[in-house]
Each structure stands twice: as structure tokens, then as C-alpha cells.
């Protein structure tokens, strides 16, 4: 399965947008937190988990998705939210805790929910696997061709909920794609110290479903494998497990001193940046011109800048609004 020119440009745009968003957020997050880093201070307080480097995992999968397909994600959700088409202004406003945010400021960056594009994320590891199975179940019961994608990290592959969800999806032959973003570190613990197998895609055999392993953060390989899995799911062929070897440039959370990370690791990863690789590939072999690529990049950055400006200018909720929307 090869991407069309439009798909290449779409993926490049989604990845560049996510990267610029993350780099922008890294700077915004530090506002008000210098010289003393106080996690509760500044316009974006609390925790911040950035995904720079992991963009292919979102773009290569979500390029195949429609608004009626469901994506569940984790505490590191920005690239998937962007690729799924979550309203960027409302998402950014939510991260800033503003009244104009997706949840009026109630959720924040780990709890971004946008029912218009069926996107939800959560701060509990592996928690999104169950809901993805549920969305797939609903699609099957209603007879639609919608699918669900559940994103987890490699650390989540050792959590009970993950295994229960895979078994249930396999048993009921549901249209789900489980994607493991293996970014090598579960906070400070490397995969070799947490997981009994080197490659989580082999665990698919335990559930009788296909397992795919993607090496080296390869956007086009993700595109192909995800495309096949999603087609199979839409056609009633059941779930697939995919593990993508990816990497995060930033720490687990902003403020993470990253003492566990070997010196030079991040620099080496940046030398093979996936967005640069895709750009080169799509210009060389995809029929995309440098001018088109530049235009896509500029448009992506502009959208991010406008979203951040919107967030900054938006008002905070009135404090007593905290009491609203507990129940439907």
C-alpha cells in the first residue's frame, strides 16, 4: 500500500503541526516557572507530556481514519489529537485551562475529549483500551464500517486492562487496531527492565490476532501496516496489534531531570528525525515539490500560532463553574 501525494502531504502536515505544537508548548510551559521551577505556576500548570519524535505513530495511522472512527489515547496525546482532527483552538484553550476549551478547563492536557471526531484520552495507563473495544462493539452492533484505534505506550503492555481488552476484541472479532508506541522509556524504566519479551507484537499470538512490528519510527511502514489492519477491521476481519518503535525527544514529563537517559541519546535520535525523513522521501519519490512541502509547513505552524493566541486571549472560567457538568 503506497500513499498518494495527498496522503503524503497530509501526513507531513499533521506531523509538522504536532512537532511545532510540542516545541511551542515546551516553551509556553516554562513561562512563569523560571528561575524557580514550580509545577503549579504559569499559564500552563500541572504536568505536561510532550510527544516530539512520535509523530509518525499518529500520522501514519490517522491518515486512514474518518471522523466517525474512534481514537483513544494516553497522557501524551497531542499528536494523536491533532491527527484525528480535534479542534486545535479548543484543544489549546483546554490546555491553558480556559473557558473556551473542550471541557471549559475541567480536563486539561491529559483529559482531552472531542466527541465531534470521537477522540478521548486519559491519564491512567491502558485505560483507553476498554473504551476502544466498546466503540468497536457499538460500530459492529449498528452495522457501520467504523473502526477504533487504541494508543498505548510500551509500559501499558504490562497492565491488566491491556490484556483483557485484546482478548475481548479478539473473542468478539471487533474492528480495533491496538497501537503500542514503544518510546523505550516508561518514565525511567527501559523496556528491557519491564517486559518479558523484546517485541510486544508477539503477544498478539496469545489472542489469536495478527501482530505487526514497525522498526525505526518509519512513517511509510506505519502507513502500510495500519492501512492493511484498518481495511481488515472494516471488512469484519477483527483486531490487530501493532507495536511501533518510536522515540520521545523530551522527558517523560516537562521537569523530568532525565538522569536515566544516556548522554547523547536524544542527539542521535534527532539526527534521524522522522519529519525530515518523510519530507525527503515525499519530494524524492512522492511527487511533492519543495514549495508544496514548505507551504504545508507554513500553514501548519500558522494554525498552531493562531490556536495559542486564541488560548491566551480567552477568558478563564468563573470559579464556581467547577460545580457544573458532574452529571449529564
Amino acid at each position: 500500500m503506497k500513499p498518494s501525494k495527498n496522503q503524503l502531504l497530509w501526513m507531513y502536515s499533521a506531523m509538522a503541526k504536532a512537532r511545532y505544537f510540542e516545541d511551542t508548548m515546551a516553551a509556553v510551559y516554562m513561562e512563569g516557572k523560571s528561575p524557580k521551577f514550580d509545577i503549579g505556576a504559569g499559564p500552563v500548570p500541572g504536568e505536561m507530556h510532550l510527544c516530539a519524535g512520535q509523530e509518525p505513530c499518529a500520522a501514519g495511522v490517522c491518515v486512514h481514519l474518518r471522523p466517525e472512527d474512534t481514537v483513544t489515547a494516553t497522557h501524551r496525546p497531542h499528536h494523536q489529537a491533532i491527527a484525528k482532527g480535534v479542534d486545535l483552538k479548543k484543544m489549546t484553550a483546554e490546555i491553558f485551562g480556559k473557558k473556551t476549551g473542550l471541557a471549559g478547563g475541567r480536563g486539561g492536557h491529559m483529559h482531552l475529549l472531542d466527541p465531534k471526531v470521537n477522540f478521548a484520552c486519559s491519564g491512567i495507563v491502558a485505560e483507553g483500551t476498554g473504551p476502544a473495544v466498546g466503540a468497536a462493539l457499538a460500530a459492529k452492533m449498528r452495522g457501520t464500517k467504523a473502526v477504533a484505534v487504541s494508543y498505548v505506550g510500551e509500559g501499558a503492555a504490562n497492565q491488566g486492562a491491556f490484556h483483557e481488552a485484546l482478548n475481548l476484541a479478539a473473542l468478539w472479532k471487533l474492528p480495533v487496531l491496538f497501537v503500542i508506541e514503544d518510546n523505550a522509556w516508561a518514565i525511567s524504566v527501559p523496556k528491557s527492565k519491564s517486559t518479558a519479551v523484546a517485541d510486544n507484537s508477539v503477544r498478539a499470538a496469545a489472542y489469536g490476532i495478527p501482530g505487526v512490528h514497525i522498526a525505526d519510527n518509519d512513517t511509510l511502514a506505519i502507513f502500510t501496516a495500519a492501512g492493511e489492519a484498518i481495511e481488515r477491521a472494516r471488512a469484519g476481519g477483527g483486531p490487530t496489534l501493532m507495536e511501533i518503535e518510536t522515540y520521545r525527544y523530551y522527558g517523560h514529563f516537562q521537569g523530568d531531570p532525565e538522569v536515566y537517559r544516556p548522554a547523547g541519546e536524544v542527539a542521535a535520535l534527532k539526527a534521524k528525525d522522522p519529519i525530515e525523513r518523510l519530507r525527503k522521501e515525499m519530494i524524492a519519490n512522492g511527487g511533492v515539490s519543495a514549495a508544496e512541502a514548505d507551504a504545508a509547513l507554513a500553514a501548519a505552524r500558522k494554525e498552531v500560532d493562531e490556536a495559542v493566541a486564541f488560548a491566551r486571549q480567552s477568558p478563564y472560567p468563573a470559579p464556581a463553574e467547577a460545580l457544573e457538568h458532574v452529571f449529564a
Binding site: S34, P35, K36, F37, G255, D256, P257
Partner: protein, 82 residues
């Protein structure tokens, strides 16, 4: 009276990127007696924490309190070793 300076060491962090740090915690009250080498304070620069040890034994005098801003060379306290 032998006064020893407790100064923020030079070269602890890349000041071109982050010129300042803060005193994150003192581990003894002003006027306490401390042993040479005891961990008496910690500094924080961005997200990294540095331990500060007492350069000598004696009575601690705190000059820069918790949350105070520091740079390399800032005198944060003294030990009176008399």
C-alpha cells in the same frame, strides 16, 4: 573567628542557557551547628537539583533563604568555625 564561605560553585550548570537558579531547601536552621561535609542545602536550576555541602564545621549563618535566586559565585551562607 574563622569564617568559611558557602558559595554557589562555578561551572555547575550551563549559565548561557539558564543564568539563575534558586535555593530549593536549607537542611539546617540559621544558627545551627553543622559538621564539615554535611549536606546543608540544595539548589535547583531548571529541573536539576544540586547538593551543597558544608565547607567546614561550625555555626551556620544563612544569607540567602529558601526560594532566593542564585548565580555561580553567589554567597548563600557562612560557617563560623570559631
Amino acid at each position: 573567628m574563622i569564617l568559611s564561605d558557602i558559595a554557589v560553585p562555578e561551572g555547575l550548570w550551563d549559565t548561557s542557557k539558564t543564568p539563575e537558579g534558586v535555593v530549593a531547601n536549607w537542611f539546617y536552621r540559621d544558627g545551627s551547628t553543622v559538621e564539615a561535609g554535611a549536606k546543608i542545602a540544595e539548589l535547583m536550576v531548571e529541573k536539576t537539583v544540586f547538593d551543597i555541602a558544608a565547607p567546614a564545621a561550625g555555626e551556620l549563618h544563612i544569607l540567602v533563604p529558601k526560594d532566593g535566586i542564585v548565580r555561580p559565585g553567589t554567597l548563600i551562607g557562612r560557617i563560623d568555625g570559631a
